[in-house]
Symmetry: C2
Subunit: 212 residues, 2 copies
DNA sequence: GTCTATACGCTGATAGAC
DNA sequence: GTCTATCAGCGTATAGAC
């Protein structure tokens, strides 16, 4: 009997199994609706192991958070090191986020969607984490290089990535039914070109439409 | 002694006191980090009252959620009934959101920032609620009327409001230090004009290209 | 309707064998 | 390092007096 139990466990290391299980459960039910016992069961380990490796549920969440952030940051770094315009780098980041949202949904959901302040009170908010700083940095350099129109960096970054991030939220919430990748080209077009028709733009911020 | 206790309570009705207290606590600490006792204490009522009026903590959260959504929807309706272009309606909504973020922060934080699925599992996500549907509807009508450039309505709505919503999140997280209202004009400019410079694209701010 | 006191279940965490 | 058994505390919910 014990043999069966010894042989069924997956070959992955224990830490990895715990974090994978925790990721899935946290995303599906939310951190506070998951107990240590749930993680233990799903990961096929004992409670003791979880406390040994991570010191508790919060420790798992923390380790998982930083692990994913680091992976994300490394991918951003790769993009930065490539020989591209700043604008192309922004596009590449959006592509990356869209692809991950489809293929590894829970990773994106945990990083972007979760309210970490609720269970990791001491951690800075996700928007001030390294990868997001890097994204804003790309935008700032793009402005300096004249590739991106002049203006406040916060507004610029929010405008450029805001639409894409909004699409991701809608997709994660199940409101958008089609894969994000099918929207990629149009999202890029909109974020650089804006939403104005010639009709509206040519008459600027004044009263328009009255003449019809 | 009991007289002092009977006289200190505020003149507001009990339901209102409970919801106000709950709103502040939920936003500050997160739903799961607030107990019924916390709400009871802050609202100066007894636990019994909370269960009598709302049936429990989740009931308070639910009532509060729908109350705020309804208020928000009513303001959107007002904007819709005014005589404006669809584009101006979008601008007005952004102005409304920015002002509320500054003057009544917790309301916006609870509506936009909270993960309702975690504590209201049966409710549809915020993005599919009536006010958000109304916002998308305005965008769709703007496209039909030729005020907003042709394209997928989801992408259009995400592009138009995504930047503003992103700014709100950054502000709520304390990353942006200045009041959002000071960014209003620039955000509007960006969301309609896009972020491209002449260098990168053939179109230009203020005067549009004619290359088809 | 409002309140207090109490009961019960769950969850996080530990101790100690292997 | 891994596991099981167990504890202590908290938080929800109820019962019953006023």
């Amino acid at each position: 009997m014990p043999y069966l139990n010894k042989q069924t466990p997956s070959p992955e290391p224990v830490d990895c199994r715990i974090m994978t299980a925790a990721l899935d459960l946290f995303v599906e039910r939310g951190f506070h609706n998951v107990s240590v016992h749930d993680v233990q069961k799903q990961a096929n380990v004992s409670i003791g192991s979880i406390y040994n490796h991570f010191g508790g549920k919060e420790g798992v969440a923390k380790a998982l958070y930083y692990h994913l952030l680091k992976e994300f940051e490394e991918m951003i770094e790769e993009i930065i090191e490539e020989d591209m315009t700043y604008r192309e780098r922004c596009n590449k980041i959006v592509a990356l986020l869209f692809e991950y949202t489809e293929s590894r949904r829970n990773i994106i959901a945990y990083m972007l969607h979760a309210k970490h302040r609720e269970f990791l009170p001491d951690e800075p908010p996700i928007c001030s984490s390294t990868p997001f700083k890097s994204m804003r940095s790309i935008v700032e350099q793009g402005i300096e290089a004249g590739e991106i129109s002049q203006g406040d960096p916060w507004v610029a970054a929010a405008t450029i990535f805001g639409g894409a991030i909004r699409m991701i939220h809608l997709r994660l919430d199940g409101v958008i039914k089609k894969p994000l990748t099918s929207y990629y080209d149009e999202v890029l077009h909109c974020m650089w070109q804006g939403m104005s028709t010639e009709k509206m733009v040519s008459s600027k911020a004044g009263k328009v439409h009255s003449t019809g």
